[in-house]
Point group: D2
Chain length 344, copies 4
């Protein structure tokens, strides 16, 4: 059984394990106040060309999302999200558990359109009963989205403009950010994201680390007291060094970007093979997640050798699945999958 069901099926890039071993008996202060975290934060500020941003290392995506949003929102504010957004669907109501409504907008190719966000905000403030409704206080997007699609520079700029107009924070969930930046269709850069979002994170868990997300904060109000919030929400790792060590190693010599390109390049091979074989897709994704549509027979046969993520039923005979490549995907496994796909 070869697993293409997700991008967190293996451990970590060997360089990370080696570095953990190398530093294992160095004694450091706890809670992220060590040299490794400082080094990794400095590397991120440098890659973002943003010396003024704060960097905090958290353990996972749900934790990053709830910690950021509970710090960003006032009690009566909610966060605008695509109805497919991870916080809207797959985090067991973690944002609501912190007291905030997720204000859903139907997605457009997995993404949130600035014009739809603008319409929601306009309608809110135009309503005579606006105080009886949740105030939009932040906008949450993920890049790539849950459906693998990516925001263009123009789209991100348009969202920024709406956020400015309606005094909302812009938060970009970058659990798979590397895979987005490595897409052939990408026109974003880390410095642009760092200057456009109030807060975003660079994912580690799905990008070659054992675990970890690096939260980057530009917004001054959000920077203030953020470590209190990390601690309160259970996200302050005692051995915080583990996060600093991992991110420093991932970012050294561009490893993070190499691994991202590796995954996307393999995904593009699978996509091309599927297209050539005439398969349809649920959505046209330019990143490491592909959503082909198989007949029940095809799926049943492929499932003997491969694990995919079941996405949804498309019609009486066909379903969409998610095929994920990752930093760890082996070229020979992709080749085998491609040849099985071609075989029909």
């Amino acid at each position: 059984m070869i697993r293409f069901n997700c991008d967190y099926g293996e451990g970590a890039h060997p360089r990370i394990l080696a570095r953990l071993q190398e530093t294992n008996f160095v004694q450091t202060p706890g809670y992220g106040e060590d040299e490794y975290c400082r080094e990794a934060a400095e590397m991120i500020r440098s890659l973002c060309e943003s010396p003024e941003v704060d960097v905090h290392f958290l353990m996972g995506g749900t934790q990053a999302n709830l910690t950021v949003l509970s710090a960003a929102l006032r009690p009566w504010q909610g966060v605008v999200s695509a109805d497919t957004g991870h916080i809207a669907v797959h985090e067991t109501g973690s944002i609501e558990a912190c007291g905030h409504k997720v204000l859903c907008i139907p997605h457009a190719n997995g993404k949130l359109r600035a014009e739809d966000v603008e319409a929601l905000c306009r309608a809110h403030y135009a309503d005579a009963s606006f105080e009886h409704m949740v105030m939009p206080g932040a906008v949450y997007i993920s890049n790539p989205s849950e459906l693998g699609t990516i925001y263009t520079l123009a789209e991100l700029s348009a969202l920024r403009k709406v956020c400015d107009e309606y005094h909302m924070l812009l938060f970009l969930d970058g659990a798979r950010l590397g895979y987005g930046l490595a897409s052939p269709e990408n026109d974003l850069t880390l410095p642009f994201i760092a200057q456009t979002a109030d807060v975003f994170y660079i994912g580690g868990t799905k990008q070659g680390a054992l675990f970890g997300e690096a939260v980057v904060i530009r917004n001054a109000a959000l920077k203030r007291d953020f470590r209190y919030q990390i601690k309160q929400r259970g996200g302050m790792l005692a051995k915080g060094r583990l996060l600093g060590i991992q991110f420093a190693e991932l970012l050294r010599d561009g490893l993070y970007f190499d691994l991202s390109r590796h995954a996307v390049s393999l995904a593009m091979q699978i996509k091309a093979a599927l297209q050539e074989s005439g398969y349809e897709f649920l959505i046209d994704s330019p990143t490491n997640q592909q959503f082909p549509i198989f007949t029940d027979e095809q799926l049943s046969r492929l499932s003997e050798s491969y694990a995919f993520s079941y996405q949804c039923r498309v019609d009486a005979k066909r379903s969409a699945v998610r095929i994920c490549t990752s930093w760890a995907t082996r070229a020979e496994d992709v080749e085998r999958l491609i040849s099985d796909i071609r075989r029909g």
Copy 2:
């Protein structure tokens, strides 16, 4: 200016004010532990033919909704509601502020259909990632609905069945319950509701009281410690007697039902006049809220003499408004409105 914009534009039925005056200097214990509350609770148990239910008096609808639901749900559970539900739209995220997601389903004539609730629950438990999603823990309906429509006995029974199947509580918001029971199309009774819902309330605020909702609990687990929750959420009125006095007076000699019939009967006159004059409606409502569609010109002219609630734009030239009658609506005001409607 005659107000038809809501059913809480006046004070209270004169008998209530008289009774408040009469009892004003009687000394009682606080927090609802007085004779008046006991009397009113007994009257409600008797009307519901349910000697086993607990009755608590709260001050308003939002308060009742958030107090009941925060007591009813475990942290990871949400409440299923029509997307038009008051808790979903018009309570500034009060349920989320208590930590719970409102799981919205598109409404069917303002109502929640048992089959849609069933589909949501089935999908939840069928999903491999069900633990990553909010568990449906209760079903919230209001009768009449936000759009004035009412549940039939069959519909309520069907919802009960789904709730039983998926271990959910059924909660009926009865802020306008009297207006529902007084509808010519109604086939529900208080005893049936009391035996079918785990918890519901009999609205006072919109039905002739100064304020107040009588929460009726049948579910044993929910009964337990409920007064703690009332106190914690700010709903335990120091002079709780005010609620007991009002409900006892409202329910004495069937006043509550007389007032409800009065309002619905006037609403039916308005509806008939509108129909005769060829107006369309946003929805066909058999209760005290009517939702006719007016052209901009018609609305502008009527608005010189009458206050309505603006509902929504229907097309380039027309909007729907809400016309509300209430226990306090005067027949002569309705006659005047009808004649103005007929004049076009």
Copy 3:
């Protein structure tokens, strides 16, 4: 049985009932956006000599406390309170239910001393693990305190200074504010309180209204969006007019202050009689709550005719009780109590 157990045992001052009757059929907008609320707010701004403050009317003390504090605090902040504070003891954890710790300091005569608050704050920021502890974000006091004692102008100024130094809001719970201002030992004024506290309230429930507290906000950040928070926490009364009508009537012609003086004057008579008869007190209170110590026999005998609030056991043979007078206390009942006290 004559009740001296609390100051909310009767209804409301007759002028309030009369005014409710008089205005009963006037139609108004809901949710506090009516003329009566505007009038009452204007009267309060005028009495406070503070045209810039915002005034909101809420239904009760717990509701006012939780609404104000949940709007005032960031998630990782707590509120400093005397360990006898109402929010610390008698609101079923309502502040914690909003996510915030109550940081308790042992009381000094029922009050919070500026030096103790300062010490707590200093210790917080001096601790190397400060981010692992709840940040003090506001100071809660009540005047009079739970034990009937009152703050002097100097004490309140000292608390203000500490709040400024440590960036905390100062919140004064004035559920019995009138009884404090009417004390022979009082040196505070409404204008001084309005200029010193970030937010406070003028109690109605215990001071002659059916219910209601008038929240006065000076702090600009707290003013912002406060009505959203009122709605979310269940405190936005549909017929908000009821609060405006009551406060306008209470404040007209100084009725509020007359009623307060009435209660305190009767309490002073009881206190004097107790002192003359040689009774000890749990605390020396200059307001409408008195805390004499009775032997079990005395208490048992008095309890045949009077209801007191049981406070605590003092020693093997004696207990302290609370005797409350109020706006509604009758002189003849006080005389009877005094003569029974003298009889021993």
Copy 4:
């Protein structure tokens, strides 16, 4: 600089790193549903001689505490804790952020006494206003306590009895459980703890793992839906295998207990040296945390070579510090410290 300031200053036991490397490219399902987690859970059930318990792996102590307690408590319930308890002091109000009050009792040698818990519960239910106060719903203890002391079998049994009497859950925080069990004064066993507490955890972070706590649940109601709560609170690690791998390795061949004995044995050597040299202690601790009292001069001199945790000032000239040994402490470092202590 040699660090004795905490027991989480290094990485992990080499066997853990080796095992992570060995398993690195094995593909597994995510979220703790892998073979390694199953194996580790089975080992724990076996060590606890409790085949019926559920085992969940979380990332850290604060996360474990807030996840367990938010699942265990109803909204109006609080958790009883010693005033020195970690949840009461050092988790930035994480329990309050979940809506629950921590009901503090003054500690007795760092521990909670059954009689004090009983008194608190008795007083709660005896108070006429009990519904206005937070209901005690669970008891939180840690073993060893924050001050290094341990519960005896008799003490734990007594707490269990109080919990049964007042329908409270008993929760034991075992972040340093191994160090407690390895104490020369210990009379507890894992099976006894597993049968006595409703829920407890076996700490990994401070006991040789990179991170991780193994939560063991005996209480049937708490077992139900617990994974939803883990996910909601941000504690469901994508690569859950990392936790299973670590615990399986720690528990294999008794490594966990060997490491614990190593740390405690070194701590006892330091304790003996301090005692022989005439130093006083803040408390008499039989585990890996020692709290000697040094003069300012002594502390200043030792601090040139060693890092301790500053505990508190004892008098004008002396302070208490915490000296921690751990699984990673080197015998030669302890010898050096001892000789420096002896030198005065």
